[in-house]
């Protein structure tokens, strides 16, 4: 009798028959052996996946039309994820310190650009992605307006969307200060000087924002915490409500 080595596809089939593999990929997964392109397995593929079950099993056919949504909401969400990942990477190399005797924040920015592996690329992705996210969220809002998608029963989700736009601007603006270069502190000085004109609470608002009377080391630490923790935390909560309400309000709006 001749022994033949198993072919790669045999090995693949064997692995996909193991209990471990089957415990990871639930029925309907395209990685599971025996996936058939039937209605049932297509439905299971959505239902049995933690990411995909943001979606219902079926959507209106017109929702696939690219010129209805332009994928703007989904791309904004993708940019948020990309910014989270690149942001975590940058946090490993960045200290929000600008005290006397040396601005660690600024020197850390320089070393991210010069000595961190892929540091420059990741910082560029983070910065350009952030500008793009402000842009795509604004465009998403315009799309939702022009398709009339804020009309009942979706009124409240529009309000959540306006809050998300505000939070996006807040995240972008707090991040703008962190490089601690001339561009950063003067842009933030100009932006926050307006708070001094708020009625009744001008001084308090200014002090709350800056942690002092001018943009300084306290502002940097404050805005860093807002940027990496506080605002993303709030944003994720509103994002969850936003996505949940899309489903509860009957999925994508339209057609026109």
């Amino acid at each position: 009798m001749k022994l033949k080595p198993p072919s790669p596809s045999d090995v693949g089939d064997r692995i996909r028959e193991t209990e471990v593999w089957k415990s990871i990929f639930r029925p309907g997964s395209i990685f599971r052996r025996g996936y058939k392109d039937t209605s049932r397995d297509r439905a299971l593929a959505t239902m049995n996946n933690v990411l995909y079950h943001l979606h219902p099993v079926k959507v209106k056919r017109h929702g696939l039309k690219l010129t209805y949504t332009f994928c703007l909401g989904g791309l904004s969400f993708f940019l948020f994820i990309l910014l989270t990942i690149t942001g975590i990477f940058l946090m490993f190399f960045y200290r929000p310190m600008a005290d006397l005797g040396g601005a660690q924040a600024y020197t850390d920015m320089q070393s991210i650009s010069t000595s961190v592996f892929f540091g420059d690329l990741v910082r560029n992705l983070h910065r350009w992605g952030a500008h793009l996210m402000v842009f795509s969220v604004s465009l998403h809002m315009a799309r939702v307006f022009y398709t009339g998608s804020y009309k009942p029963p979706r009124e409240f989700n529009w309000v959540v969307g306006v809050i998300l736009l505000f939070l996006t601007l807040g995240l972008s603006f707090t991040g703008y200060l962190l490089p601690w270069d001339q561009l950063a502190i003067w842009a933030v000085t100009v932006g926050t000087s307006l708070a001094a004109y708020s009625p009744f609470i001008a001084k308090q608002a200014n002090f709350l924002l800056l942690g002092g009377v001018v943009v300084g080391p306290n502002t940097l630490l404050r805005w860093y915490v807002l940027h990496v923790l506080a605002l993303p935390f709030v944003l994720v909560i509103f994002l969850a409500v936003h996505f949940w309400r899309i489903r509860k309000d009957g999925g994508i709006s339209g057609p026109l």
Binding site: V59, G74, F78, L121, L125, V162, F173, D181, P199
Partner: protein, 282 residues
């Protein structure tokens, strides 16, 4: 025993069905009620034959028939409820002989004995009046599976964006100017681009108006849009006012932002970008 095999009074069935339909009862419920009426009428007319049927071993048929078995049982509720306790062991024995292969365990037929001194209770699994059922009515419409149709579209959009961003980031570096210096104000000093519309407004209005009142008004106004615009139509032709107003707002924002970004130079004075250059940084 299937519905076709069950002895029944078809005239009573038709009469009950017509009466219920005339009363506006849902057709599915009317049919069920008419069926039980037909079987009951037949049983009342032929009591001897009904009793004979009750005694006959019908377990195999009932086990095999499934849903239909339940039909019959439901139809014969008053008689069967009393008979079932005694008949169950017999049925079980018969089933064991005629159908040796059966996956689920056989019913024991044991009924829990009630406590002494407690009134006999009538046990019900559930009794739901048809009016109590919430009917969800949603148009099925023309729907497609999310996997693969929508998810593939999303993945393609995502990868195109990611590729574009990576290529852009590879070749164009984010700015990093000299170290922050609170004593040296750059000229011009501008806010990030998304606030340049507001900074431009500062040229025309008091900071309280331009920096606080107008932005607050815009944000609150935007949030209030669905509660102000009560026009139910989504057709662009029916929403001319809403679309015009919002387009004017967007155009104002875009124009002010573009002016603030490209047409303002040293001292925040007017410049022509093609003549004096662009004073704008991202």
């Amino acid at each position: 025993m299937t519905w076709e095999e069950t002895p029944k009074d078809l005239e009573a069935y038709q009469a009950a069905l017509d009466a219920l339909a005339a009363a506006g009862v849902d057709s599915r419920i009317a049919e069920g009620r008419a069926r039980s009426k037909a079987v009951r009428t037949w049983r009342e007319a032929n009591p001897e034959e009904a009793a004979k049927l009750e005694k006959a071993p019908k377990a195999p048929a009932a086990a095999a028939a499934g849903g239909n078995g339940a039909d019959v049982a439901a139809a014969a509720v008053p008689a069967a409820a009393a008979a079932a306790v005694g008949a169950a062991p017999v049925m079980a024995a018969a089933a064991a002989v005629t159908t040796p292969v059966r996956e689920a365990p056989l019913p024991t037929g044991n009924v829990p004995t009630p406590k002494k001194g407690v009134d006999d209770k009538h046990r019900l699994l559930a009794l739901v009046p048809p009016e109590g059922i919430q009917r969800v009515e949603r148009e099925q419409g023309d729907r497609v599976n999310v996997w693969p149709h929508l998810l593939i579209e999303e993945f393609v959009a995502m990868f195109i964006l990611l590729a574009a961003l990576v290529i852009f980031s590879t070749f164009i570096n984010a700015p990093l100017r000299e170290l922050a210096n609170p004593n040296l104000t750059p000229n011009p000093s501008k806010a990030p681009w998304y606030f340049l519309g507001l900074q431009e407004l500062l040229r025309y209005f008091h900071p309280m108006i331009a920096g606080i009142t107008i932005p607050t008004f815009i944000l609150v106004g935007l949030a209030a849009v669905p509660y102000v615009d009560r026009n139910p139509s989504v057709k662009p032709g029916d929403r001319k006012i809403a679309i015009t107003l919002m387009t004017i707002l967007f155009m104002f924002g875009a124009t002010l932002t573009i002016i603030g970004s490209f047409f303002r130079g040293p001292g925040y004075n007017w410049v022509w970008p093609w003549a004096q250059g662009v004073f704008f940084e991202l």
